[in-house]
């Protein structure tokens, strides 16, 4: 399995989907499931509001270590997954900008590759130490997550 590419990074640069997909596509890959999150300028659900921008902050070395852990957890659960890319962009990010990407490749699409990508973004939002402050028309507010990691997480 060691030859399967795993990319994880915290970056201030634009997320380049074409480049990341190419980097995790082996000759044996026929399918990629990719999730991207974008900054919402307008939120309707729960507490409807507008967002001017989000300011992301990360504890970079731990975030990269936890991204590697997310990749390891994906491989444990879906051994058919070949390449994995996990990228979190940080800094000041405006609506419609991609902020995060999880991509998994596999030989075929019916192998769990969609579920693997979904698992990846769910876990990233639980254990990767990144935070965002939301700046809107009425001021700014740190967004707080809900997950309390357990020992070994």
């Amino acid at each position: 399995m060691q030859h399967f590419p795993t990319i994880f990074s915290i970056t201030e640069s634009e997320i380049d989907l074409n480049d990341l997909l190419a980097k995790i596509t082996l000759p044996s890959a026929g399918a990629a499931a990719i999730f991207t999150g974008m900054v919402r300028g307008v939120t309707a659900r729960d507490n409807p509001h507008e967002t001017k921008y989000l300011e992301y902050e990360a504890y970079i070395p731990m975030a990269e270590a936890k991204m590697r852990q997310v990749a390891d957890e994906i491989r444990e659960r879906w051994s058919v997954v070949e390449g994995i890319a996990i990228v979190q962009r940080i800094g000041k990010l405006y609506p419609q900008t991609p902020t995060v990407l999880i991509a998994c490749t596999a030989a075929h699409r019916d192998t769990g590759v969609f579920e693997a990508a979904r698992y990846g973004i769910d876990r990233l939002k639980e254990i990767v130490p990144v935070w965002k402050k939301e700046v809107g028309p009425n001021g700014e507010e740190w967004i707080e997550g809900a997950h309390i990691p357990k020992a070994g997480e």
Binding site: E57, A63, P129, W131, G145, P149
Partner: protein, 82 residues
């Protein structure tokens, strides 16, 4: 004694009014004891300390853990990336 580095992020950083500090703590200090010490030094942090997440050397850690020599400790709220 044990010289440790402490990092604050997000709301914890804002309330502490600083990003990081170095601290000399007794050997065998637990996470819980360190939190109590920080609550005295940073009164604004007191309320946050109940629900703060802690990492030691970039792994999640918990109240009972004994802080190793030269540790890098971080305090932060539940994560909200993505």
């Amino acid at each position: 004694m044990n010289k440790v580095k402490i990092l604050f992020f997000a709301t914890i950083k804002d309330r502490a009014g600083q990003k990081s500090l170095e601290l000399d703590i007794p050997s065998q200090t637990t996470v819980l004891a360190l939190k109590e010490k920080l609550g005295v030094e940073f009164p604004n942090l007191k309320d946050s300390l109940k629900s703060v997440l802690i990492s030691i050397n970039q792994e999640y850690s918990f109240d009972d853990a004994v802080i190793p020599q030269g540790a890098e400790i971080a305090l932060f709220p539940p994560v909200s990336g993505g």
